[in-house]
């Protein structure tokens, strides 16, 4: 003990020498200040880039916005068409994909939260759902192409909707399970104690208690698939003409944007910006309302 104290007394360390201590302190503060500055800079850069994207969309898309965009079909370059068929196609396929994917996702989430706690099968299902959640969406397009498009007679809106449904499922699974798990066990026990069957407990009490959270998940899923492009490339293909047939290729906003933005015609590029503006406004609006919905509940 005394040897240690003597050694430290002999060394000119920060504890003994105030000048060293001050210099060290200043260095530490400077490093910390630098990190703080870089953190703020990183946040500002990210926010500026977000602003740049939104501003570019408003500026380039806003100038082309007109009634014709919503009332006319896509046309040959130079003849000022609209995006009606793309908008309608997007609505149909997004709606259909959500309608197919949501019930499945809801049941899987229910299984994970209410039935499969601790079972290895449920563990595997949860793992696979997590993988599907982040799996490249283009592969889901290829998958549906091989499974549906090639054997069943070509590109179709229904194939596109199926691809979107595969993307919807894991999103709904994730939120449904998380929300159901937040429900206190006492609530379940109270319902059971009244003699209700388990399925009634789940449907009438748990779903109701978690409905805002579940609705948030569905909204997020809609927002996600509304902007998906890659899986539609191989499934619904896109269509420059009016078509609402589910068994034929169908237009959609993202595909039309992709096709028009890469073209050499100014009016097509202009329409691509308008489409990009529309889809971003839609997706961000759904996203923000989903967040507000969840916040009201808490």
């Amino acid at each position: 003990m005394s040897g240690h104290a003597a050694a430290s007394m002999a060394m000119p360390g920060p504890a003994r020498n105030l000048a060293v201590s001050r210099a060290l302190g200043r260095r530490r503060q400077r490093v910390s200040l630098l990190v703080k500055g870089l953190s703020v800079a990183a946040t500002v850069i990210a926010l500026l880039l977000l602003a740049s994207i939104l501003f570019t969309l408003l500026w380039r898309g806003g100038t082309g916005l007109s009634v014709a965009v919503f009332t006319e079909m896509t046309r040959a370059p130079g003849s000022n068409g609209g995006l009606l068929n793309a908008i309608v196609g997007s609505l149909i396929q997004t709606a259909l994909g959500t309608l197919i994917g949501t019930p499945i996702g809801l049941m899987v989430g229910t299984y994970l939260a209410e039935y499969g706690r601790g079972s290895p099968v449920a563990g595997a299902v949860r793992f696979v759902a997590d993988i599907l959640l982040s799996a490249p969406s283009i592969l889901i397009g290829l998958f549906i192409y091989e499974l549906v498009v090639e054997p069943w007679g070509g590109f179709s809106a229904i194939a596109g909707s199926l691809a979107l449904a595969v993307i919807v499922i894991p999103i709904v699974v994730r939120t449904t399970e998380d929300m159901l798990r937040l429900i206190p066990a006492t609530l379940r026990e109270a319902v059971m104690a009244l003699g209700a069957p388990k399925w009634k407990m789940i449907v009438l009490v748990c779903y109701r208690a978690a409905r805002q959270g579940i609705a948030t998940g569905i909204l997020l899923a809609i927002a996600r698939v509304a902007g998906e492009t890659a899986p539609l490339l191989f499934t619904s293909l896109g269509n420059l003409n009016w078509s609402v047939s589910l068994t034929k290729p169908m237009a959609s906003l993202p595909l039309t944007i992709y096709q028009y933005a890469g073209s050499a015609f100014d009016d097509w590029v202009q329409l691509a910006w308008v489409g990009a503006l529309l889809i971003t406004i839609g997706v961000l609006a759904i996203n923000i309302s989903a967040r507000l919905l969840l916040r009201v509940e808490k």
Binding site: A46, L50, V121, I131, L142, G227, T229, A230, T280
Partner: protein
């Protein structure tokens, strides 16, 4: 208690046949998800089988992509995929770390939620919008203002000069990596923020009480406590970057050869599949090669995402 509930439940299920049906439907849905991923893997593999048969393991290491001679190799897109994704992380990780620090340590309370939401909204913007924005806004800036300066500055420096050589088109591997970086920042930053918030306040307060600066607290308390989850968040970002399609397709430059210059054009697996698919008739060897590429991409993403999940699971679930 748990066991008593279980016994009671079993007794109940006999009295309520609806229960068995509901439970069966729920379980079948769960199994359906397993089937979905299983058939996705099998489908991609079977689709790619003709290409695997034709080229064997050489498919992985051949840099040929010649539709006329019907020779296809996966090396160029694999190289492009890995290079752009890893480069994207080089840009995205420090920025995400800074954002997470800002949101957990620096920002005043009232600012945290709106700024955090704005960062998360970056993840909501569709991929194709990033592609258009990158192509019409970022590419001109890089080709006119960035590339000429870098090329001039590095002229004559042995290795660097080759790394940034080439005509200043603005498109290419580096541009793709930059767009990818911005796209994965919200995922990494949100995960980092969430795990930083799990550090018990007492730990941080103790360190601050000893006189540590903010950076010392972060380096010695927060990072060691959250290390596994932070790496998990980065892997999640990597998993996202690997399979990103539309944004990359716009800015990668679409070339079927390996470029030693970061400014050079290239292809990723996802972009080559998107770009070449329209010219690949059903049943052709080329389509099969694209499927084989898809299978390879899936295997890479699967490994990365599984690792990410294993690292994140104890702490936190990956945010959608």
């Amino acid at each position: 208690m748990q066991q008593a509930t279980a016994v009671a439940l079993r007794a109940r299920s006999r009295r309520h046949p609806g229960d068995a049906v509901f439970a069966a439907v729920a379980k079948l849905s769960g199994l359906f998800v397993l089937l979905l991923l299983g058939s996705l893997i099998v489908t991609l593999f079977v689709g790619g089988l003709p290409a695997f048969r034709r080229f064997g393991l050489g498919f992985l290491v051949s840099d040929d992509w010649d539709p006329v001679k019907q020779v296809f190799g996966a090396l160029v897109p694999i190289y492009g995929t890995l290079l752009t994704s890893v480069l994207a992380l080089v840009f995205a990780v420090p920025v995400s770390f800074g954002i997470a620090l800002f949101l957990t340590e620096l920002a005043p309370q009232w600012m945290r939620r709106p700024v955090g939401t704005a960062i998360e909204l970056l993840a909501a913007i569709p991929s194709i919008i990033y592609g258009m924005w990158g192509f019409f806004v970022i590419v001109p800036i890089i080709s006119q203002d960035v590339q000429p300066h870098i090329i001039d500055t590095l002229d004559g420096i042995p290795v660097l000069q080759d790394l940034f050589a080439g005509p200043p088109f603005g498109t290419g591997l580096l541009t793709a990596a930059m767009i990818l970086a911005l796209m994965v920042v919200p995922f990494i930053a949100a995960t980092m923020r969430d795990v930083f918030e799990t550090v018990p306040a007492v730990f941080k307060e103790s360190a601050y009480g000893l006189g540590c600066t903010m950076w010392e607290v972060t380096r010695s308390i927060v990072l060691p406590y959250t290390r596994a989850s932070v790496v998990g968040g980065i892997m999640l970002g990597l998993g996202r970057a690997l399979g990103e399609t539309m944004a990359v397709t716009f800015v990668i430059g679409n070339a079927d050869r390996i470029s030693t210059s970061l400014f050079g054009p290239g292809n990723t697996i996802a972009s080559i599949v998107a770009l070449e698919f329209p010219e690949s008739p059903a049943g052709s060897l080329k389509l099969s090669s694209l499927m084989a590429l898809g299978f390879i991409l899936f295997m890479i993403s699967f490994a990365v995402l599984a690792a990410s999940r294993a690292l994140l699971r104890p702490g936190l679930k990956a945010s959608a």
